[in-house]
Symmetry: C2
Subunit: 318 residues, 2 copies
């Protein structure tokens, strides 16, 4: 089923202990789209400025991504983010953010983008997420990402947006902040208890991203957790979360005839984990641009092997 993603398309300037890049292609919608493109048709909705290059669009087109709803704002500048990572890549400092064309962005979806059955609301202002959600009222599966900023300054809107989604994908610290519950399971259960005041189903899947530790899945049915795929070389974590989301949502989109069971979601989590592991191996989108399906399949196989243990019974004392 085709996927529509609404979110940022950006230029990123990134410095990590392993090097730096100036104004490389980035943005949540881009990272998401490249990952999801391994599974299904993807349509990207978001604004760019006059400074945005044709070769950047070509990166997405080369993976079959439909960029006809990428809106080029005349006289505008593309969203810009500059950040620097600490020695263990677990901390990062934002040096500069220039909203550019994102200031005053109002998502306009073409008929074909509105016809998608699957929608990913990348991290943008929650009222915009609600607006886009309203433009795809019949979408079969809608997932949402957000960030600490919106929990701080627009929590009510964010909660309303979450109530309209099937799946929430957040960093575990954000999930704690959003709910005020320090315990991950309790925080996830709290989100699963939300539902629209006007009636409707409310979220049924919560995914907590845990960075280098992996990710956890909480549904009404159960709990699942996967470690990150272990890497000796991590070059640039930028976009890992959106790549993860692209793997997760893409996998679900590619299985339109399956119920949204925990069994399906676990396979989706594994693909999300593996996609994210490739993304961080090089700067920006560099690794994803030449990734192949067989590389993904091989790493799924390895991840599977790395997480198995035998439950052989043992006579315990006491």
């Amino acid at each position: 089923m085709p996927i529509t993603v609404v979110g940022s398309i950006a230029y990123d300037t990134v410095k990590t202990p392993f090097g730096e890049r100036q104004r490389m292609l980035g943005g949540a919608a881009v990272h998401f789209a490249l990952a999801a493109s391994f599974f299904d048709d993807v349509r990207v909705v978001g604004p760019v400025g006059e400074d945005f290059g044709e070769e950047q669009l070509e990166v997405m087109r080369a993976r079959g991504v439909d960029v006809s709803d990428v809106e080029r704002v005349s006289g505008g500048r593309t969203f810009f983010w500059q950040g620097e990572y600490g020695w263990d890549l677990n901390s990062r400092e934002t040096i500069d953010t220039q909203l550019g064309v994102f200031e005053g962005f109002s998502p306009k979806l073409s008929e074909s983008s509105r016809a998608s059955d699957v929608l990913f609301l990348a991290n943008i202002q929650p009222d915009l997420q609600l607006d886009v959600r309203g433009q795809l009222p019949d979408a079969r599966f809608v997932a949402l990402d957000s960030m600490n900023l919106w929990i701080d300054i627009a929590r009510d809107s964010l909660v309303r947006a979450i109530e309209q989604c099937d799946c929430v994908i957040l960093n575990d610290a954000e999930l704690r902040q959003l709910t005020g519950k320090p315990n991950l399971v309790s925080a996830a259960r709290e989100v699963l208890s939300w539902s629209p005041s006007e009636g409707g189903r409310g979220p049924r899947v919560v995914v907590a991203k845990q960075g280098e530790y992996g990710a956890a899945l909480v549904t009404r049915e159960g709990f699942f957790a996967l470690p990150a795929y272990p890497l000796e070389t991590v070059i640039d974590p930028t976009g890992a979360g959106d790549t993860f989301a692209g793997g997760l949502v893409g996998y679900i989109a590619a299985h339109p005839d399956e119920e949204l069971s925990d069994e399906l979601l676990r396979r989706a989590m594994a693909h999300a984990t593996v996609l994210a592991s490739f993304n961080v191996e090089e700067f920006g989108t560099e690794r994803m641009q030449r990734l192949t399906g067989s590389e993904i399949a091989a790493r799924i196989h390895e991840l599977h092997a790395m997480t198995q243990f035998s439950g052989a019974p043992l006579a315990l004392r006491g």
Copy 2:
């Protein structure tokens, strides 16, 4: 195979967001012993003061732990630790530490403690760990824990102690600090490359404890990671790491006829994870004192179910 553990026997005063306890039974050797007692015979070596109660020794005896090498130092005071945890239990502040009888402690092992085939060197000064290690030259499996303090002030001794062990069990931050390598896999590989200058085998198992995120296992053979067992109620994390070690080392001790394969180690990791999950459900040793083998087995079964995913193949695009 009988297990000898050398380490602290303590009184802990602990405050968490869920309550507090004054001078309850604690210490690394105690937490380790209670967990390991589900698997095999355990002998505890460590000093206590005149203030140490008979009922505290009885807690260990009730689980079949041999406390005849617990040395009561006349005129001495039992090791005392006081700490307070933050709202999400991930940060803790040490309010007070009183070494008491641990100051000038020189481990004296009886013949039966020296006859154990399995040895756990809990977190004590690394020269003492080396000394004890030398008293069990033929032990089949020796594991060691340590802490940031010894990496700071006695790193050379610690490295020498590690070189004499089979298995190192550290928090992941300590593993990074010890090796100066921010990447977990690289840090573990570094430790696995160490070997005694006088010849010998060196460590072959590195376990990185990751708190609420679980734990990872690195051997020359491979990588394995397990999430923590998810709990909605965590009351007191004190002793979780030592309880984990008790489950891991205990499980290995209980399988004397098996090679130290990754397969065995993974099962040991699962038992370690489950034991630790019980420990944190109540203050100090409260939960462990009434834990049963069937409760452990049930949670192993659940943990197994929570970490499974199907590797069903999927035709990927590109």
